[in-house]
Symmetry: C2
Subunit: 238 residues, 2 copies
């Protein structure tokens, strides 16, 4: 009976390094002997929970204003990130990116998690924002993405047109604050070790190895009492 090594990942749909970090840990997992016993749990984080997008926003202008710099500076930042993503096999298109609040995307992600489709939807949400230039706060877009990963249309729309899973999103963010998360992606291994940021694959692999070695993932259970208590077996109760 091997046990599951749980990796919790706080991240935001709006976070380029979160997509890169996803590829890095996937790369590490591909080289991890016990990868079938690793469970990834996506936790919600919002870089800016109060963010309200307007239709005219584009990311270069947004960054220039936010940091009080000029457009050329912002464009260079975006180009560097695009190159960084390319090194991880990702195709970022910031020129198409639609700035949006990610609250609804996170709510949908919690629904997907409940159906063991969290990994699949997380991938689709990051791709939608960073590669495909889709509006991930648009309920129809979210509904389509949800159905693409295998969620039922009716369930998805019921969730999107309500405030379902809002508490789960808030709880995740509160938990991140509690453990001192300053930025995302933020990875927690077996509630024990944490990695902040999209670090190199080897760092993830090493941490997986250490966590596995120190944890209780392969152990057999230990019978506490050698004398058996009252129980029922195939031959009756005694």
């Amino acid at each position: 009976m091997e046990n599951t090594l749980k990796v919790q990942i706080w991240s935001d749909v709006m976070c380029p390094f979160c997509y890169i970090g996803k590829r890095r840990i996937e790369g590490a997992l591909a080289n991890f002997k016990h990868k079938d016993n690793v469970e990834i749990e996506w936790k919600s984080f919002q870089l800016d929970a109060s963010f309200k997008a307007s239709p005219d926003d584009n990311i270069v202008d947004h960054l220039a204003v936010k940091y009080g710099k000029n457009k050329a500076w912002a464009q260079e930042m975006v180009d560097n990130m695009t190159q960084n993503a390319k090194n991880s096999g990702l195709d970022f298109h910031f020129e198409k990116a639609i700035l949006a609040n990610s609250h609804n995307a996170h709510r949908l992600l919690h629904l997907a998690k409940a159906h063991k489709l969290g990994n699949e939807l997380k991938e689709q949400l990051l791709k939608a924002y960073l590669t495909d230039g889709k509006n991930v706060d648009d309920l129809e877009t979210l509904s389509t993405l949800g159905q693409q990963v295998g969620l039922e249309k009716e369930t998805v729309e019921e969730v999107l047109h309500s405030d379902a899973y809002s508490d789960e999103v808030k709880n995740d963010i509160a938990m991140a604050q509690q453990i001192g998360v300053q930025g995302v992606p933020f990875f927690v291994f077996d509630n024990k070790y944490a990695i902040s940021g999209a670090q190199p694959e080897e760092v993830f692999l090493q941490t997986l190895e250490t966590t596995w070695k120190e944890g209780n993932f392969t152990s057999k259970v230990t019978l506490v009492n050698t004398t058996e208590g009252d129980s029922c077996g195939i031959e009756g109760c005694n």
Copy 2:
């Protein structure tokens, strides 16, 4: 961030000591300081997976035949068990008990688990068989019990009128064999310690304390790298 101490309990609906064991661990939990961080997971076990009941079966005759003894002997065994149950505040009525195969009950229990209603349904199933003299292999009875704990009628009936969750039942039983379970109830704490049988409350409490002390339930996460990796925070990505 406190973590969850998971207690897995293999048991059968048809097992009197399982109901008594349930009360014993509940008693221990009531005195356990970290009880809010304990999660109970009910695992399926069948004392006799091939059992086919006939309408004329009664438990005293059944036990007498099974053990090649007379009815008086079987009646005494049943009376002792009833007294034992009474000491745990349980009201057993073997004279009303309807012998039945528990496969469908276990399938329904897996549905309930998926909706975080496992504890509630487990209680209702044990009560139905051991106290109320209900046929827990009867699909209508099961449907009513499922709805009583809060499952939706449509979902319950879809599961009951299919072979949904059969694999989960089989997997639980296979896992029990793998870890050497001979009888139920069988309790596994944090995949580490096991208790066989409905032992005294103090044994459960002690094991909870030991598991908690040795486990990683209150620890803070440890940052692996002091240098932060690439990440996005409220102030942007870097």
